[in-house]
């Protein structure tokens, strides 16, 4: 079984992102970049399925600028067998990214596609579901447990009220939630080995897809700041404030 894992290069989760001075966009000058955390979970799950003998090959894919090769190398160091960069200089919206990924997946014809439920930059939570629609695959989003059973997968999903288990026919799209696994760290020998693994670069223009933006970013601003609060000295004082000042308890 072949597994394709789409990943994304994003601003590291420790960075506090701010708007540019003219509020035209976010300020991404000189910020640390990393693989999106939910994508690390997706790679880890695919590699574990390979280690368990369920999968035979893991292919990492991303759609982005040339510097996204850095995150593909990380994916290779974590255990992916080869990688594909669909190269574009434009910042694409999720629909356009899903279209580019669908072309790669049509060419690769994997039995399973695992990707993160959301990227922590745009917080859109769209690409996996869109990809499933474009390929007419079933989808199992927000997965916390996956088991492959012949030509279907049984997936436990994190839903608002608890857990839901569904069965989805393969090939299918699965998006990862945080409890699915705990991703490993890449070892130094594996980082060295990853440099020799195949990384194929495909220009997006050759794919014949419409990637024109549908949304215009008008401005980026800071959220309204909260008024500074006070420190209380004791539980008694706290209860008094909540009852008499804030009046939120009785």
């Amino acid at each position: 079984m072949k597994i394709v894992v789409p990943i994304k290069r994003v601003v590291d989760y420790n960075v506090k992102v701010r708007p540019l001075g003219d509020q035209s966009d976010v300020d991404l000058n000189n910020v640390k970049m990393a693989m999106n955390p939910f994508c690390e979970i997706a790679i880890e799950e695919a590699v574990r399925l390979k280690e368990a003998g369920t999968a035979s090959e893991v292919v990492a894919v991303t759609v982005g600028k040339s510097d996204s090769q850095e995150q593909l190398r990380t994916a290779l160091a974590l255990g992916a067998d080869r990688a594909i960069l669909v190269e574009t200089d434009s910042l694409l919206e999720p629909l356009a990214i899903a279209k580019a990924l669908s072309k790669v997946i049509e060419a690769e014809s994997p039995q399973l596609v695992i990707l993160g439920k959301q990227a922590i930059d745009g917080d859109n939570n769209q690409t996996g579901q869109m990809l499933a629609a474009l390929l007419n695959y079933g989808q199992a989003t927000f997965a916390s447990e996956i088991s492959i059973d012949g030509d279907s997968a049984s997936v436990t999903r994190e839903i608002d009220g608890g857990l839901q288990t569904i069965k989805v026919s393969l090939p299918a799209i699965i998006t990862t939630d945080l409890r699915l696994n705990e991703p490993r760290y890449a070892s130094l020998p594996n980082i060295m080995k990853a440099k020799k693994k195949e990384l194929d670069v495909q220009p997006i223009d050759a794919m014949g897809i419409d990637t024109a933006p549908r949304m215009e970013l008008l401005s980026v601003e800071l959220p309204a700041a909260r008024q500074e609060g006070i420190k209380v000295e004791s539980v008694e004082e706290l209860v008094g404030k909540l009852k008499n000042e804030a009046k939120v308890i009785s």
């Binding site: 769209q126 869109m130 009220g161 288990t165 008008l218 401005s219 959220p223």
Partner: protein, 309 residues
């Protein structure tokens, strides 16, 4: 111009987030219809028809929609989409699952988790865990939108008298099927609907210690939440998680206990009316957003708090 709101429900009752989504639809303007797709769900359609300001409820009652799986539900919405300029659903795990699929079927770019309607084609939404607010303008013919419930006050659940129009199932898919569901049973209010929330973080040290929070929750009629760190550490299940990748809450009172206040957690609770932080580290970032901060060991403070309530 007219808007279709996708009802979230459990085949017996309408979920409250639907009312906040209708509120966002009202700001957009034009007629508002509600789609109720489910199985043996007439009572939900009746409830939707009573929602203030709704013109029409479209009811699709078919066993295929019992669990509202994404494939069949997205196909169904697509089949009636031509009549609408906007299609809205709450940004819950239900809406987040179904709407992007619909959006790709319609070849439109979804606008996720809006917090403000600026005009019929322009919306505000948080990005980077709420560190920034983006204003975006959509050029798509049909705007497919998920709505952050806490950003819109719910409309009245009664006072309306919409007509209910039953239609047939369309585009039933067998790509996925329901196996089972484990819904957490609790006498406490739902996290996203509670007026008071008390959450624990890594400082709680174990899942067993969450009983300290539960005691207080029961005295206050509060829901219990957690930070991602507490979920990662296995103290509590993921449906407790408040934050960027969990639930967004905005109660009247939010009590953060043993939570340092990472930006990812603040993203889920900083719109609460009053925030209390209890942490033994006086430099914890949570104190920067707290209205009332108490620097104390939570294992002393919590029993004392329980006693005084």
């Amino acid at each position: 111009m007219s808007t279709l709101v996708i009802a979230e429900h459990d085949n017996s009752n309408l979920k409250p987030a639907t009312l906040n989504t209708v509120a966002a639809a009202n700001v957009i303007g034009g007629a508002v219809h509600i789609l109720v797709a489910g199985s043996s769900c007439q009572s939900v359609a009746d409830e939707a028809a009573a929602v203030e300001g709704i013109e029409k409820v479209i009811l699709v009652d078919d066993s295929a929609y019992e669990n509202q799986l994404a494939e069949s539900t997205a196909n169904l919405i697509k089949s009636i989409s031509a009549d609408y300029s906007h299609i809205l659903a709450p940004a819950t795990t239900f809406g987040k699952n179904v709407l992007p699929r619909l959006s790709a079927l319609l070849d439109v770019q979804q606008i996720s988790e809006i917090t403000e309607v600026v005009s019929e084609d322009t919306f505000k939404r948080p990005i980077y865990a709420g560190s920034c607010i983006a204003t975006v303008k959509s050029s798509d013919a049909i705007k497919v939108i998920t709505v952050r419930a806490t950003a819109f006050d719910p409309v009245n659940a009664s006072g309306g008298s919409a007509s209910v129009e039953p239609i047939s199932a369309d585009g039933i898919s067998d790509l996925s099927s329901f196996v089972n569901e484990e819904i957490a049973q609790s006498d406490r209010p739902e996290l996203t609907a509670a007026s008071i929330v008390i959450s624990g973080g890594r400082g709680m040290q174990s899942g067993d210690n969450f009983h300290l929070l539960e005691t207080i929750a029961d005295k206050l009629g509060a829901a219990v939440g957690a930070s991602r760190a507490a979920v990662d550490a296995g103290f509590v299940p993921n449906d407790y998680q408040v934050g960027q990748t969990g639930k967004i809450v905005a109660p009247d009172l939010y009590i953060a206990v043993g939570i340092s206040g990472a930006i990812q957690h603040l993203a889920g609770m900083k719109d609460s009316k009053v925030i209390v932080a209890i942490n033994k580290d006086e430099d914890a970032p949570i104190f920067q957003v707290a209205d009332y901060g108490l620097v104390a060991d939570l294992f002393n403070a919590l029993p004392e708090l329980a006693e005084q309530l």
